[in-house]
């Protein structure tokens, strides 16, 4: 089914970004435009989602070039849900930024870059062309570089050097893989590639190319042993930026991995072993890394790595049930991780610090806020009926069924470590008596904010926490959605038929 609506989320973000560039020196107007624009883009994404949900996979050929010659945009259920979640997180972060990001940063084009980043993410989810995916990845990293360095504090620049080097390297590796793939197949259209690759006789070469892709995406998503840039940089920018990065940037790497390793290189043989081992190590190293941190936001950075391992592990098992778990986990993780970083920025405004030892007394001083913050924290552990619990059932079940006991042990280990870390954060931040606050830090503290500014900080957290609660209490909706996505991912023929507009006899 052809639909022009697919390109609208991308174009709309580009439009807002360009408008914001013209409002360069007017931070107040920029904030209003950004929040309104993000709100409208949630509606557009929801429209696209409802269209795909009702009518199946939608495609669009840019410039009306017949596939495989032009660039195809493909909106299958997986892609549109991620587009929807991106715009939801974008909306929340945009509101949060209006207090969290100071005007001097806004005057250096913070909001414009923010919308370019969202545009890049949306494009990466919707594209059906592997080189176009590379281009969207570059859009994402260049805007994330600017967001990371804007402000130019020492820690930011140090983090940016590491972030820059490894992400640039990942892009080069990814491009190398594309070059080799093009040399072997002569095509860049993912739907066509899914038909050509199984016919290639040189299986060794195909396997090599697939592993180069894995390295490229692995750096971006932060798998062991390629994750070191992530904890070195994610805590340095303002909390709004960290939330966007933590929620979405690593997930786009995972998305690309899921797309490539279901559509182009279905996982089997050596790849499967490699994936399982790497997933287990990612979980263990991320978990242990989080355990030793003394700073709350850095703990969250390591937890990202740990939970990326869940998704890679689920993908590596490559059964429909495992993919249901992966997809559900990803949806849950995007919302919860973004929310955790927003909370990190919030507590920074309360305590002037994010060191666990210098925080405390949140439960006594701000009981309502404490209750709010507990929702994403508990969802992260997967306390039933919150959202982290449901995908874990599928993941544990799948690893037991495919008798990947090592992976099962890693999953359980990670769950316990996460529980332990959340308990530690609970003790240090919520329950412990507050130590004397050192107001010498030059910072506008939470109680100095006006009512409007306080609302702008609290509303996004409430908004994302409500979504987490929805995931938890209406898990059957998400489960049905994940099952449909997983079915689509395991049957790449439908993707191919949608792109090439082949009428399927059975569906008519």
């Amino acid at each position: 089914m052809h639909s022009q609506l697919i390109i609208l989320p991308i174009l709309f973000q580009a439009l807002i970004a360009v408008i914001l560039l013209f409002l360069w020196s007017k931070p107040r107007t920029q904030r209003v435009v950004s929040v309104l624009g993000s709100g409208v883009s949630v509606i557009i994404s929801a429209l696209l989602f409802s269209q795909v949900w009702n009518n199946g996979i939608q495609t669009m050929q840019i410039g009306n070039w017949e596939p495989p010659f032009g660039i195809s945009l493909v909106a299958d259920t997986f892609a549109v849900v991620l587009v929807l979640l991106t715009s939801v997180v974008g909306f929340a972060v945009s509101i949060y930024s209006s207090t969290n990001v100071v005007s001097s940063r806004v005057k250096f084009g913070y909001y414009a870059m923010f919308h370019f980043l969202i545009m890049g993410l949306t494009g990466a989810f919707l594209t059906g062309d592997i080189f176009n995916l590379y281009v969207w990845f570059e859009v994402i990293i260049i805007s994330s570089f600017v967001l990371l360095t804007i402000g130019g504090r020492k820690a930011q620049l140090e983090g940016a050097v590491k972030y820059f080097t490894l992400n640039m390297l990942a892009s080069i590796v990814f491009l190398t893989a594309i070059a080799m793939l093009y040399g072997v197949t002569g095509s860049l259209n993912m739907a066509e590639l899914s038909q050509i690759i199984p016919t290639i006789e040189n299986k060794g070469l195909v396997s090599t190319i697939s592993l180069i892709f894995f390295v490229g995406f692995g750096v971006k998503s932060g798998v062991f042993p390629l994750y070191f840039w992530l904890p070195a940089s994610y805590h340095t920018p303002p909390a709004a930026v960290s939330a966007l990065f933590g929620g979405l940037l690593t997930k786009v790497g995972v998305y690309a991995m899921i797309r490539v390793f279901t559509l182009l290189f279905p996982i089997s043989g050596v790849n499967q072993t490699v994936f399982i081992v790497i997933a287990a190590f990612t979980i263990i190293f991320g978990g242990i890394g989080a355990l030793v941190q003394k700073d709350m936001v850095r703990t969250f950075s390591y937890l990202i790595i740990c939970h990326i391992g869940f998704m890679i592990g689920g993908l590596s098992m490559f059964t429909e049930m495992a993919l249901v778990g992966v997809v559900f986990y990803m949806f849950h993780d995007i919302i919860v991780k973004a929310n955790l970083f927003l909370i990190g920025g919030f507590t920074f405004r309360i305590f002037g610090n994010n060191k666990l030892s210098e925080m405390g007394g949140l439960m006594n001083n701000y009981p309502k806020l404490a209750l709010l913050f507990v929702i994403p924290l508990f969802a992260l552990v997967g306390i039933p009926p919150l959202s982290g619990f449901w995908p874990k059932i599928s993941l544990f079940g799948a690893s037991y069924e495919t008798s990947n006991i090592g992976l099962l042990v890693a999953f359980i280990f990670a769950s316990f470590i996460t529980l332990f870390i959340i308990a530690k954060i609970w003790n240090q931040v919520f329950a412990k008596h507050a130590s004397e606050r050192d107001d010498l830090v030059k910072l506008k503290y939470f109680n100095q904010f006006t009512k409007r500014e306080k609302t702008a900080l609290i509303f996004p957290i409430v908004f994302l926490a409500l979504i987490t609660l929805y995931y938890g209490f209406f898990a059957d909706h998400i489960q049905v959605l994940s099952e449909r996505i997983s079915y689509e991912l395991m049957h790449p023929n439908e993707y191919f038929e949608a792109v090439f507009n082949i009428k399927n006899e059975t569906t008519q």
């Binding site: 080189f131 620049l157 140090e158 940016a160 050097v161 491009l175 070059a179 040399g183 904890p231």
Partner: protein, 116 residues
């Protein structure tokens, strides 16, 4: 010609990775630039080399006949060059700023954000 290009690509990759592994910021950037050029050559090579047959349809014909150069890799390289140009100029400004603020170009000394 293919052999020459293949060797050239290999040299660029090797030199790029070697320079990235050094401790100096400037060498890091040069390494990334070399790697970027290496990958462009690789795309060019993987597209297949055809000498003197541009993919232009003659006026009296409807479509291309016989052997002709594949235009796609060239378009890809062009895109990749533009992107890497932008990224590299950003990188150069970034290391200049980083050098001014951190006051060292030794990457090993930039360990502030990794400390627990």
């Amino acid at each position: 010609m293919e052999i020459l290009l293949a060797i050239m690509t290999g040299i660029l990759y090797a030199a790029g990775i070697y320079l990235i592994l050094r401790r100096s910021l400037v060498k890091l950037i040069i390494g990334i630039v070399l790697l970027g050029n290496g990958v462009n050559l690789l795309i060019f090579l993987m597209g297949g080399l055809v000498k003197g047959r541009p993919p232009i349809i003659p006026e009296d014909a409807k479509h291309l006949e016989g052997l002709f150069a594949d235009p796609v890799p060239q378009a890809l390289i062009l895109t990749a060059i533009v992107i890497s140009f932008g990224l590299q100029s950003f990188a150069i400004v970034l290391i200049k700023r980083a050098y001014k603020v951190v006051k060292t170009d030794d990457i090993d000394a930039m360990n502030e954000t990794d400390r627990i």
